[in-house]
């Protein structure tokens, strides 16, 4: 118990530093958190949606396209902000602004520095996902009251990316690696995870790959919740998958950070 509270205190100390930094940029950050979903839901949901809806939506479960799309974009956005916050800021904390380098000279251990940062990313995910859900609700695209549970679902989706990606980002030697990860990792995931169209449109082998990716689980989970079609079994599978990925990241992160920060 005493040990747990010490661990928690050290993580908390590392976390607070990020809030001090965030205080300087929160206005522009909140602004873009609102603007992003408005643009997405406006263009894809209403624009593309009106076209899809006119031709019948039996293929997407008989719901309006906007309702099909909104939870997927929620999960995609969680992935995107997790990647944005777990790549360049992690790399920069070693190479540019030295936040990690400064912190390692203090009682904080690499694992505390890692956990504090991932926790901060998690809190940012709560903020952006809550804003998204509020905007989506204003657009009338979340029919079920279960949508409230889509908030933790989206945060979990983001953490399943952030925890392992941060552990990878600290080992990267040149930041161009991130651009490759965005282009060849994030973009295909966004396009082929049942986001804009159901997986049933894909050939069988590609569908199998999609089932194995974290974003598909995030999208399926969020969608089941906002549409109110969730079954206990499916939710359990998605949550277990995402928790396992987060846990693997957390396990690796402390070790990788120690190797990198303690030369």
């Amino acid at each position: 118990m005493a040990r747990l509270s010490l661990e928690a205190r050290l993580t908390w100390r590392a976390l607070r530093a990020w809030f001090t930094v965030y205080r300087r940029i929160w206005r522009s950050s909140v602004f873009s958190s609102v603007l992003g979903p408005v643009l997405y839901l406006g263009a894809m949901g209403f624009g593309l949606g009106s076209l899809v809806d006119r031709h019948g939506t039996a293929g997407i479960g008989g719901v309006p396209y906007l309702e099909f799309l909104a939870p997927a974009i929620l999960a995609v956005q969680a992935m995107q902000s997790a990647l944005a916050e777990a790549t360049f800021p992690v790399y920069g904390a070693v190479k540019w602004d030295y936040r990690y380098v400064a912190a390692r000279a203090t009682p904080l251990r690499p694992v505390d520095i890692y956990r504090g940062h991932v926790l901060f990313i998690g809190i940012r995910l709560v903020m952006t996902s809550a804003i998204f859900l509020a905007v989506a609700a204003a657009f009338g695209s979340v029919p079920s009251p279960w949508a409230v549970a889509a908030l933790p679902a989206a945060v979990l989706t983001g953490l399943a990316f952030a925890a392992p990606i941060a552990a990878w980002a600290i080992t990267v030697r040149r930041d161009t690696a991130f651009n490759y990860a965005f282009r060849f990792g994030m973009t295909p995931l966004m396009l082929f995870s049942g986001t804009f169209f159901p997986l049933s449109r894909l050939p069988g082998w590609l569908r199998l790959i999609a089932y194995a990716t974290p974003l598909w689980h995030g999208v399926a989970l969020c969608r089941a919740l906002t549409l109110g079609t969730a079954t206990a079994g499916a939710v359990a599978i998605h949550v277990t998958y995402l928790l396992a990925l987060t846990g693997a990241g957390l396990y690796a992160g402390g070790r990788v950070y120690a190797r990198r920060l303690y030369a």
């Binding site: 205190r9 050290l10 100390r13 590392a14 607070r16 530093a17 001090t20 930094v21 300087r24 602004d97 030295y98 936040r99 380098v101 400064a102 912190a103 390692r104 000279a105 203090t106 009682p107 904080l108 251990r109 920060l261 303690y262 030369a263």
Partner: protein, 334 residues
């Protein structure tokens, strides 16, 4: 005898097949200013990182504040202040916020941080910049802020890695002045430097490091006495005359009167007892010839009497630079 704060025996750091620190021994006592003098790449920074508990030793014993860095890193680091070679300030925050963030890493309450921030910014003469961003501060100011930040936890040992490297002379003197005040307050300092004047000004005791090993240890005065002579005669010859003059002077050196003085005041090349300038000799550098002699003017007269005409000559007191040169045959800043 005051308390030993850092004790190293056979301390070793290897990176793959490269040995950065090769089995060094030293003791740091409470209240002293202890220096590691040596050229770049001698192993000073690796030693500092091991003491700072951010780099586990590969081999040997290390005890910092009586504890084992491998096991008690967080507890030890909580009582250290570290001024790294490169500033690790957060340039996106203000001066005050930098101290706030750092103080929180040590778990200090906000009120304590606020109070110490005022005192420390006064001390490093940055009180009027408290609410300014760090980015536009000059190099000297950033260094002073780093020093202030390192003192936020009132450390038992302050570790400074190359504290004035990269600063202009005026900024260096301001930093030295602040460090000297800390020393007078009884703060224990460990510092690395490749500036001999810095080591002479600040260190009570130092070790000379070269090629991952400790080449010599003592106070600046003791080291100069042991490895040099009271006076140094520096001779510069025209470029085309340099090599021949060096040969002739070396021959003169074997005749012994040049190096020990006409009256034979020193007893040849063997190190003498304490406090006696004792190591006469000749060092030939690319651009000048240094004669370690008891009497510089007498040696100069003798050189001129042999028909050698230096372009310039200078008689000066020996410094730690000379100690390093005599120990390694190389100049510190090569």
């Amino acid at each position: 005898m005051s308390e030993v704060l850092v004790r190293a025996r056979g301390l070793t750091k290897r990176f793959g097949s490269f040995t950065a620190v090769d089995g060094i021994d030293f003791d740091l006592y409470q209240g002293e200013a202890f220096g590691f003098l040596g050229p770049n790449g001698a192993g000073k920074s690796s030693t500092m990182r091991m003491i700072s508990c951010v780099s586990p030793p590969t081999d040997g014993e290390l005890a910092v504040l009586g504890r084992d860095p491998r096991r008690d890193g967080p507890a030890i680091r909580g009582r250290l202040g570290v001024v790294p070679q490169e500033d690790t300030l957060d340039v996106e925050l203000t001066v005050r916020e930098n101290l706030l963030v750092y103080g929180r890493y040590f778990g200090l309450p906000r009120a304590v941080i606020r109070e110490r921030t005022e005192q420390l910014l006064d001390f490093v003469q940055l009180a009027d910049r408290a609410n300014d961003m760090v980015e536009p501060l000059s190099g000297g100011m950033k260094r002073r802020l780093t020093i202030a930040r390192s003192l936020i936890n009132e450390p038992d040992i302050l570790i400074l890695d190359e504290p004035t490297t990269g600063l202009d002379p005026q900024a260096r003197h301001v930093v030295w002045d602040r460090l000297f005040r800390l020393k007078q307050r009884g703060v224990t300092l460990i510092l690395t430097t490749h500036y001999m004047d810095e080591a002479e000004q600040l260190c009570d005791r130092l070790v000379v490091m070269d090629h991952a090993r400790i080449a010599a240890e003592g106070s600046p005065r003791e080291l100069i006495d042991r490895y040099s002579t009271a006076e140094v005669l520096e001779l510069r010859f025209a470029l085309d005359a340099h090599d021949r003059a060096a040969e002739q002077i070396k021959v003169m050196g074997t005749e012994r009167t040049l190096l020990v003085g006409a009256n034979g005041s020193s007893s040849g090349t063997a190190p003498a007892g304490h406090g006696r300038p004792s190591r006469p000799g000749i060092e030939v550098l690319a651009d000048r010839i240094l004669l370690y002699v008891p009497d510089g003017d007498a040696a100069l007269a003798e050189v001129i009497a042999r028909g050698l005409v230096p372009a310039t000559s200078l008689v000066r007191r020996a410094t730690l630079e000379d100690v390093f040169l005599r120990l390694t045959g190389r100049s510190l800043e090569d």
